[in-house]
């Protein structure tokens, strides 16, 4: 079973994403800020990280920067799920961290889009 780490400071968001992913046969681990997300990613080595951006302690962008600089986590694909990017008519924007583009889904998100992006990065659960 593929494991996904969801990092978001809103417990309700974690809860809902977890429901949706579990219904699609993914296993979900969660963290409520960038710090905790980083520790869990290093410890659990998930198949994918879904990352919020505006969070206390450590912002999502910084957490991704650190994940990328760590040999054991640098390969883990990342999707940003955030309120700080807005929709584009054709789909969704990207987030740029150190010159690298990451998939970013704006909140509120459409579940089918989130699932499509996940499937595309790591396949079925």
């Amino acid at each position: 079973m593929k494991r996904i780490l969801v990092v978001d400071d809103e417990p309700d968001v974690i809860d809902l994403v977890k429901n949706r992913l579990e219904a699609n046969r993914y296993k979900v681990i969660s963290a409520t800020d960038g710090d905790e997300g980083l520790i869990k990613a290093q410890k659990e080595k998930p198949d994918l990280v879904i990352m919020d951006i505006l969070m206390p302690n450590m912002m999502g962008g910084e957490a991704v920067r650190q994940l990328r600089s760590d040999e054991s986590t640098k390969h883990i694909p990342i999707i940003f799920l955030t309120a700080v990017t807005s929709r584009t008519p054709n789909g969704d924007g990207g987030v740029n961290v150190d010159g690298q583009f990451y998939t970013a889904l704006p909140k509120p998100f459409k579940p089918e889009k989130l699932l499509f992006e996940i499937k595309r990065l790591i396949g079925d659960g």
Partner: protein
């Protein structure tokens, strides 16, 4: 009003004349100070300390002549100092020379009492009037300066408020998104029966909630867009876009809505590509807003979209046969929050931002928009975009896209599809555009092939994308191949070679696995 004690200088070397003049002045019923000097030099040194209000000056002094003194007054900036020349004016041009150098009047010698009194009194009256006027002017100027300063302060405050408003709109829009996301996904999960079966009637109302949450999200996005446009922070990424194709896709998106209202929706397709240099997503937004509006305000007839290539630019038009806009409203049509007298049905209310955003986007692209409308007949929006001008051979573009993608991403997959045997190429291209959501994805069409660049995508995952873009009937007929960076090659040439080998060679699987 300020009353100043005036000072009068008498500059006269002749003692008896000086005393006589002094006596006359003292007898006058004015309260002024009188200072008398026998030489020009003495007078000048006093002049430096405190200039007088009136001077009685003898033209011929032993040390300096009066003309020289007159010139000195001028040089010292005492341009308005009234000087009465006292002289017998023996030389014919003495008076003229004196007046030329700024003297204001004269007193003939021998001195006549009434003459002196009248002339001095006249000058003092004049002087007082001037001073009063000057004082009033000064007060007025001070008042104007104060008002100006106040105005400036008010203006500063307004600007600050305006910035605050923009920041407020920006941050509130973000703050609204998270709660909205939680609401939307909660309802969506109930609707999708994640927690058990839901009766159809309840589903219908949950759908209504979802639709309206998406509408709310749209409003938030519009608010954010307009605040970005106003702050000059909306970024556009221009690329080569076929506007004809773009319009075709947009028209097909709106087809259902138009049909439901019984309207004819025509996007002019002449089959030829019309290339513009635009941000595709923002351009779609412009068309969406204008066509969406036209649909709202047209009850019968048609909506026609044309894309016309002109010499220097591309002219687009969205024309409807709706109820039109009153002449008096046309000028404010592109202002924010204006929903000018075009009434429309319930549930169709917009934000009043669509046209302001469209105008902002078009202007960011260096184009312009204008409207023509006749009440009862319809409305037409005309807007222009920049033409795309071919820089070099098109065969370079996939190569250069690949080179920049390798630099930018740690991982990348490239799908190459042979479209020679494809039955409906346009439908295929349409499916590609609809299937790729990410900004970083790139699609390049070159002669017989379509290249799809997918950053951060593993080779195995490309089949997910392929399955979405392949139509049901052309499932097997496409010659496609996939290479991934870095596993199949580290350089652009290695990857391109990989793509060519796999498409030509019979045993491409072997080729690829051999490199792993």
């Amino acid at each position: 009003m300020k009353q100043t004690k005036y000072t009068i200088f008498i500059i006269e070397n002749n003692v008896s004349d000086r005393q006589f003049l002094k006596k006359i002045l003292v007898e006058m019923e004015y309260d002024f100070a009188i200072k008398d000097f026998a030489t020009g030099k003495e007078a000048m040194s006093e002049m430096n300390i405190r200039p007088p209000d009136l001077v009685l000056l003898n033209l011929y002094l032993p040390d300096q002549d009066g003309f020289f003194l007159l010139e000195s007054f001028h040089q010292k900036g005492l341009v308005d100092l009234p000087v009465l020349l006292v002289s017998s004016f023996d030389k014919e041009d003495d008076k003229k020379k004196g007046f030329d150098r700024g003297a204001i009047d004269f007193i003939n010698k021998p001195i006549v009492l009434e003459d002196v009194k009248a002339r001095v009194a006249c000058q003092l009256r004049f002087k007082r009037m001037m001073d009063d006027q000057k004082w009033a002017n000064q007060k007025t100027n001070e008042g104007i300066k104060m008002l100006y300063k106040e105005l400036e302060n008010q203006n500063k405050k307004l600007l600050q408020l305006d910035h605050l408003k923009d920041d407020f709109v920006g941050s509130v829009s973000h703050e609204l998104r998270t709660p909205l996301a939680i609401m939307r996904e909660s309802i969506s999960q109930i609707r999708d029966e994640l927690f058990g079966e839901v009766p159809d009637q309840q589903k219908r109302y949950l759908d209504k909630a979802l639709i309206n949450m998406d509408r709310l999200r749209n409003i938030i996005d519009n608010l954010l867009d307009i605040s970005k446009i106003e702050k000059g922070k909306l970024e556009i990424y221009k690329e080569k876009v076929d506007l004809n194709k773009l319009v075709e896709e947009i028209v097909s998106d709106f087809a259902v809505k138009a049909k439901a209202k019984g309207l004819i929706l025509e996007g002019a397709v002449h089959g030829t590509a019309v290339y513009a240099l635009v941000d595709p997503e923002k351009t779609i937004q412009v068309f969406n807003n204008l066509i969406g509006n036209a649909l709202k305000f047209t009850e019968k007839g048609s909506i026609e979209i044309t894309v016309q290539e002109e010499e220097d630019f591309i002219q687009c038009k969205v024309k409807d046969t709706g109820k039109g806009i009153a002449q008096k409203d046309l000028h404010k049509l592109f202002d924010k929050f204006q929903q000018v007298g075009r009434k429309h049905g319930p549930g169709e209310k917009g934000t009043g931002l669509g046209l302001a955003i469209a105008k902002g986007i078009i202007e960011l692209h260096g184009g312009n928009i204008h409207v023509e409308s006749t009440e009862g007949e319809g409305t037409a929006f005309f807007f222009s975009f920049q033409k795309y001008i071919e820089e070099s051979g098109s065969c370079m573009s996939f190569r250069s896209a690949l080179i920049s993608a390798i630099k930018q991403f740690n991982q990348l997959s490239v799908i190459k599809v042979d479209i020679r045997n494809l039955k409906d190429v346009d439908a295929f291209k349409g499916r590609i555009t609809k299937s790729l959501f990410r900004k970083s994805d790139r699609v390049i069409i070159e002669e017989q092939h379509v290249f799809i660049l997918l950053p951060d995508t593993e080779k195995e995952m490309c089949s997910v994308v392929l399955s979405r873009i392949k139509g049901s009937h052309d499932a097997d007929s496409l010659g496609e191949c996939i290479v991934s960076f870095p596993i199949d090659g580290l350089t652009c040439d290695e990857l391109i070679n990989g793509l060519e080998r796999t498409i030509e060679g019979e045993n491409h699987e072997k080729n690829i696995s051999g490199r792993r």
